[in-house]
Symmetry: D2
């Protein structure tokens, strides 16, 4: 059931901001409508690419409610419920339930040093607290613990979690997870979060992709997923190479790190493409300006997205 | 001014919980009153030892308001305003301002990968948002970035920050910070967070200590600080050795990590000493039980705190 | 030229030991002959899987000389010249030159904290010291620095290095390297060291694989490489899945880490398959025994390699 | 016995090089004689500060033999026997035994991923291989594993190791080690390797210090140690502050990291002071030049060592 509902291309939607750092609703409408028109299979709102960690609770609610309104049931809507520990995550789940979403996406606990006992307790408590499907957002670069294959499968077999978005960068582990999942009757929907190696994830048997780069252009990812479903690997590879060439926008800016570079590049490209109004980033991140904007534009020109 | 106000022993007060994980107010009263009677120079509420990351916003408010009421102005009250990024931290600052505190304590941003530009922007934004003194909680094990000496001093000289609690475990850096601070006319109040090497921090010129272990027994730390102010180094060393012997309670539990071990040991000791009612820990942490309680008791007996 | 010479399946040959930890020559002969009969395109001797770090200089020389003798020119022979810093690596290059090999494989400098200036200087100095092709062994888990794409390409374009074995586990970086290499006219031969995601590396455009698991059975890797050259991706994927199932031998042992588990599993499997005499590991590693041997055997039975 | 023999100030002697990177013997004589005249209690040769990882076996032998000749029995001579794994370390022990030293100093195994079983096996094998006292060089920044207090004490109580040089930067662990050692009857001689927090280590009960900075000027460390033995803590603190001010030479150079900065600053200072001929560093490290030399000189002038 999960696997039929959640699959394919589910971009983590960026949060367009006005210059005074409020949600820019008209830009958000253009962005979401464009994604759905490009054929995505779902929307993931309030993930890392949405600058979720930078938004206070009220802003989180506004972003999610507007996404819900704009999407209007066209594709499944997944909500990030990212916070330090269980009780705080449950608060966000309550907010998501009130707004109405199709699934929630939670990381392992972070800030405090944490063991696997805590990780397991955490997801069990989230599952008990909601009837929504719970996805694991496996992102050790942010939470500094990896959810191991064995624990992921234990939680999957028991129906505690519905799937995972793997942003671990550990493709060896992803292969092992995909094998174990298949052997267990595929209780989990498995998504990769790594834009430039989706072809490898599909070779491993991934159910889909959550590509931040999909904000800028989801067509490659949609074409890649369709080719994958048909077993047309040559197209998978070709489309992946195109997406990888575009992904160089995140390596183009200089003197910036983390989401200031990555999400900053996505927003800058979207602004250059006329989809969103500004490339403003949340405090305390610097917004890309001057030469860095030009570097992003240069990549867009190289791949033919900009004249 | 800062240095005369904030100095000495300022324990990060643990949050006693009932078995159903609400704030246990009578236990909290006994704990805070005992600390003040033992002679502490301030109270730090909603820090890591308070399980701040595990408390939702409402619980945070309750903990802080009760601490305010119980303290009743006897000693300076510092409030942790710990959250992922600037906007969320400012929300907590607003709450702290409404309740009324003497200073706020914030970490560097966390969750997202972050550079020093963001760290600097972050503390500048916090300073602009409040007239309260802002302390840096330098805790790379939780936030995965260290605030370097140069940036700390830059923010100190400009009056952006009032001081820091150094929980970095990097005593070389602390020495350099203390030297640079002295050379700049001591704009910062410098506290160490490492219970067993406070003597070394005093040799470096620390203004005080924020000892989690002080919850269990603050008398050594108070005696050590007084001796330090008099230049009685032999007493400093002797008291430090006593405190270090007691600190073995955090290494005693087996099969637990992070605050489940450390704060868990503090709470278990406080329960064994009759100060608080239960040693219950927040979800998703396991609470110490059975053999692990006995291991903590054994250390208490060894140092003569328990019969 | 390099790309025509070095490509395909080049296993890092394990070093069979007698129970008193000398090179077991008859076992070594059986192992190398079997690999060549299974169709490998080269042999990599004195890499991590050869326990190179555990062998003194005399043992290194014996292992390499015996490999040279047994191979007898049938396939290209690559020699690891792994040591802490430049001068020591050059000593090993001299030894390899005297014995006679087709290429040498060196890591970035290790032990001392090192910057990219040192990494660049290091490979330039190695190139100046020898006329043999120099391959970069990119293995941050051992040397704690990653050779970045830009530096790798700079050294490749200038002819300083001939290629790399990527054991970084960073498939995003590998994709970027493959793209950059293609754009530069493919000066580098690119090998992946990760046994279970070779299909993804081929999608990225890898020239081959250096699979430790190939010691146990190279037939899947040989079939996978041939299918890759023909564009038969379905076979690539199927063969990869088979190899991944066998690779579970390295996750089977309990209570051991690093090469004691990985190389230990390879040796144990080879012993169970009758290829080598003992599964003895170098001091100070524990050799797999009892239950751990049985766990490896169980995987071999599951995949049909053992009756 | 050990504790009476090995104690006090034992600098890790840098290796002066000629511009063509051979041992500069006249400079080495001046350096060693000056250290002994300044009152050091021993010499540690072939440690990290000696650029041991950069020297081939022949150079190592020459450095050690010259140190032996120059010292001529005036103070105890400790030799680093640093290499990746047991068998290679034993080769260096043999060399040290032939030349004749008073103790050998070995790190935990490195390069390969290693568990505590291997660390324990390693030191047991070294002890079996020699009758010389074996010191543990605990330096996780280089070998990426820390020798925990429990294992250190187990090896100490059994007489496997004679002591340790703690360069872990973990002063909490050092305190715990010192406490455990005292409780066990002080089987271990405990040295700190951190130049700017030796006062704290003495408060913990250290037996001495191995200060790289002592190469530049050992007089502060000698005075500090003497004051420590007399319980004159005020002098300990004052001398430490002076040494810490001088230590800023290692933070002065820009654009260099690791020993290229640290040992580079020591050598540059020694050259400026006329003790050694050149500040040449081993390949592949850059040698400090131009502005960076001036930055080191500036610190020397500030503390009054240079006119």
């Amino acid at each position: 059931m999960m696997t039929t509902k959640f699959h394919g291309v589910i971009p983590p939607v960026v949060t367009p901001l006005t210059t005074d750092r409020k949600l820019d609703v008209p830009s958000y409408e253009r962005l979401i409508n464009r994604l759905i028109e490009q054929g995505v299979n779902g929307l993931f709102v309030l993930g890392s690419s949405s600058e979720v960690a930078y938004l206070d609770d009220e802003s989180r609610g506004r972003v999610l409610a507007e996404a819900k309104r704009i999407n209007d049931g066209r594709v499944p809507l997944l909500a990030g419920v990212i916070d330090t520990e269980t009780q705080r995550v449950i608060s966000h789940i309550r907010q998501a339930e009130e707004i109405g979403v199709d699934a929630v996406v939670a990381t392992a606990p972070f800030y405090a040093v944490t063991g696997l006992t805590e990780v397991e307790n955490h997801f069990r408590a989230l599952h008990e607290a909601t009837s929504l499907p719970v996805f694991v957002y496996d992102i050790p670069i942010c939470v500094h613990i990896k959810v191991p294959v064995d624990l992921m499968m234990k939680l999957g077999r028991e129906g505690i979690i519905a799937g995972c978005k793997d942003s671990s960068g550990d493709d060896v582990s992803f292969r092992r997870l995909a094998m174990a999942n298949r052997a267990a009757g595929s209780p989990l929907s498995l998504f990769t979060g790594h834009e430039v190696v989706v072809d490898g994830a599909y070779m491993s048997g991934a159910d889909g992709v959550v590509p931040g780069l999909g904000n800028v252009d989801a067509t490659n990812y949609v074409a890649m997923y369709k080719a994958y479903r048909k077993g047309d690997w040559e197209t998978v590879r070709t489309e992946q190479d195109k997406a990888a060439a575009l992904m160089e926008i995140v390596n183009a800016p200089q003197g910036v790190v983390g989401p200031a570079a990555g999400v900053g590049a996505f927003k800058t490209a979207l602004q250059l493409l006329g989809v969103i109004e500004t490339n403003t980033m949340s405090v305390p991140m610097p917004t890309l300006t001057g030469e860095n904007v030009e570097r992003v534009a240069e990549v867009l020109r190289r791949v033919g997205l900009l004249a």
